[in-house]
Amino acid sequence: MSDAPPPGSHRGDAATGAAPPGPRVILDEQGRAAPRLDFGWEQAVVPVAPPPAPRRWSGLGRLAAGAGVLVLGLSALDAANFVAAQFERGAALGWVTLGVVLAGFGLIASAGWAEMRGLLRLRSVDRARAAFARGDLEAARTEVIRWAAGVEEAAAIQPALREARSLEELRGLLSAPLRSLESQASTLGRNAAVQAFSVTAISPSPGLDALVFAWRGVRLVRQVAALHGIRPGIAATAALLRRTLFDAATVAATDIAVDAAARALLTNPLLEKVAGEAAAGAVAARRMLRLARAAAEACRVFPPG
């Protein structure tokens, strides 16, 4: 080792006497180029299976579960007591009552199962997207094969998906069916836009406009989700709406500006009425188109871009 002047200016380091040494650079004696440092970072941060995230019951969750247990549990107990009482009155009466009770609870269970399936399909999309994001080929392949089984456009590529050797191959194979689904979603969006435009232009009250727009919007989101094989129930529709709501709302500020400009330009009362309603209709139509695109993006097995 040898002391050497630093590469930069180094004034005032004439440390003499008992003063502590000043900062300095000490070049290696060997005088040849050194390789860059290697901290073994790639090995140190190598991905490990993520630990299952701890889940806890939220207050709302406990409230809903408690109410569900009370309503369903007490109803079941009440129904069982009632069936037993009916059997005491007569066997035929008992069997008929039992049939009614089983049919009723069976329908409730099937509705619950349909809700759960819709939600599970949506979670499957989430899992696929997460697998693509972290570059986990095995998990991504498993999820997209499961997804493809429920989507008509993608059913035919399942064998090819099984053989895919990289995420890029998976993306390439899925691009054609996804393009087809996006085009169908756009068609659905255009149909909804025409309906929203027409209804807004002729409807007598703004309140009705909002109601029709909301109903058509929810229906559109469910239609787009069904295209992607999700067939959402009430809970899954709520989850999808949550995802698409803000994407679709980002155009709201522009809409308000366009609407205000259209109204400000017209002074004739009749023209103002007609054009004003048409402008509102155009805004509603554009929102529908945006909603269709946002819903399609929320349902894709891997995010766009």
Partner: protein, 467 residues
């Protein structure tokens, strides 16, 4: 900055507050993280490392363990928000990473323009009930910009006369005289009623700009205004930049011309830079090159503290009661000493303590405005490892790295880092310029992120509560 006197700003705040509330309700929060720092504090490298390590963490790599712990292991994916129709350039993290990984490597050049980037963090929900609604997302908005421009912030509240008086007082300080003597001789020779002469304005501006550059590059000063005189940005110099402080700033003639240009400059910086990007942000990281300031000497150290204080005062003005009520106020401010790998591990605590003293005033200001503050030490990209050097027969803790220019391995003894503002005797060792090191071996694609020191702890403190 929004008040009842600014109805448009008030409306914007109301709309933004409502949007934030709605987003929080449906689990799609959007957080603006303001990364502020003086020039050469390391903002671009910090953002590059932050983005690369977050993306890697989203792929499951354990690049940010403290942040992962703060998120309770629920971080499932991180992705860049695809480009839309933005008019501001996009922060090119991949180009920066490729330049750092190439042979020979290159650190990012001085930032010349604004650039932005958005990252979406997807997280599992905490509760079973919420889990049925799918993942939550937190979008981080990031901005890179020339550090020199930040010093224009204190100018927003000053007229030409006040700015001239304050600036000339700084330029006349003995430590700055070697760089400012020519300019001061020029302005002091101007009579009070000098006529509006363009040639004089151009000559004065050229001398002023040269003085500022010398102050920055030779003497290590940071409190230099206006920022665009040092870094005009991609559009180059425009006539509104051709002003300089005058000893007789009031009156007609040249003084009136320079005052008009000063006002136009301040208005443009407000409209094009501060209002769109710094008006509202929820979290703030203030990066400080403490070691650089310490090595540049007593005056430069005090100048850094003064500059940070002035910026903090100007930024804190937006955190009024209304902003707090609407949930738009800055709630966490982290002060971070960058390039912490330039000192050995045992001195990093001292570096953090020294930063605490340096930013005492801004920290108190942020706390008074309702924000929680913390002080950290970090290296966005770790370039050295700890070693021992022998100086005057004594072993001392040092760091070892590969010098950027020479490509040779070298030990650097950074001197003793004091835990509090240094005593006068300390400055005998001033004017040391820390050499630039080569970054460690990196994957150009950034698949596994980049080695860092303390970045995860900073992020965990800054945004961990949102995850």
């Amino acid at each position: 900055m929004a008040s009842l006197l600014d109805p448009l700003g008030l409306l914007r705040d109301l709309a933004e507050g409502t949007e934030q509330l709605g987003r929080a309700l449906v689990g799609q929060e959007r957080i603006r993280l303001a990364v502020t720092g003086l020039t050469r504090a390391g903002k671009t490298v910090f953002l590059t490392s932050l983005v690369a390590n977050l993306l890697a963490a989203g792929r499951g790599s354990r690049t940010l363990p403290a942040l992962e712990a703060a998120a309770g292991g629920r971080l499932r994916a991180v992705r860049l928000v695809p480009a839309g129709v933005e008019s501001v350039p996009r922060f090119d993290v991949h180009a920066h990473l490729a330049a750092l990984a190439q042979d020979p490597p290159a650190w990012p050049d001085r930032t010349e323009d604004l650039s932005t980037l958005e990252l979406t963090l997807e997280l599992e929900r905490r509760s079973l009930f919420g889990g049925m609604l799918g993942t939550r997302s937190v979008t981080l908005e990031l901005l890179d910009y020339p550090g020199e421009w930040l010093l224009d912030l204190p100018m927003l509240g000053q007229d030409f006369a006040a700015w001239s008086a304050e600036t000339l007082a700084r330029l006349r300080m003995p430590e700055r005289l070697p760089a400012t003597r020519d300019f001061l001789a020029f302005v002091d020779a101007l009579p009070a009623d000098v006529p509006e002469e363009e040639a004089l304005a151009r000559r004065g501006h050229a001398l002023y700009r040269d003085a500022l550059r010398a102050c920055r590059d030779r003497l290590g000063f940071r409190f230099l205004q206006p920022g665009r005189a040092l870094n005009p940005g991609p559009r180059g110099e425009a006539p509104l930049l051709w002003f300089f402080p005058l000893p007789h700033p009031r009156g007609g003639g040249l003084a009136a011309l320079l005052a008009r240009r000063h006002a136009a400059y301040v208005a443009e910086q407000r409209d094009r830079f501060f209002d769109p990007f710094f008006r509202r942000f929820q979290r703030q990281a203030v990066l400080v090159d403490v070691l650089g300031a310490l090595h540049a000497g007593e005056a430069a150290f005090a100048d850094t503290a003064e500059a940070l204080g002035a910026i903090a005062r100007a930024m804190g003005e937006g955190n009024g009661l209304l902003a707090r009520l609407l949930g738009l106020a800055t709630t966490r401010v982290a002060f971070a000493a960058t390039k912490a790998d330039h000192v050995p591990a045992r001195q990093r605590e001292a570096l953090t303590a020294l930063l605490g003293h340096l930013v005492h005033a801004p920290q108190a200001g942020a706390a008074a405005a309702g924000a929680t503050t913390a002080v950290h030490a970090l290296a966005a990209i770790r370039c050295t490892e700890d070693d021992v050097a022998t100086l005057e027969g004594r072993p001392v803790a040092a760091v070892r790295g590969v010098l950027l220019q020479e490509g040779r391995s070298a030990k650097v003894y950074p001197g003793e880092v004091p835990m509090s503002p240094p005593q006068p005797g300390f400055w005998r060792h001033a004017y040391f310029e820390m050499p630039a090191f080569r970054p460690p071996r990196l994957d150009p694609a950034g698949t596994s992120g980049v080695p860092h020191l303390g970045l995860d702890a900073l992020l965990a403190w800054l945004i961990g509560d949102l995850l």
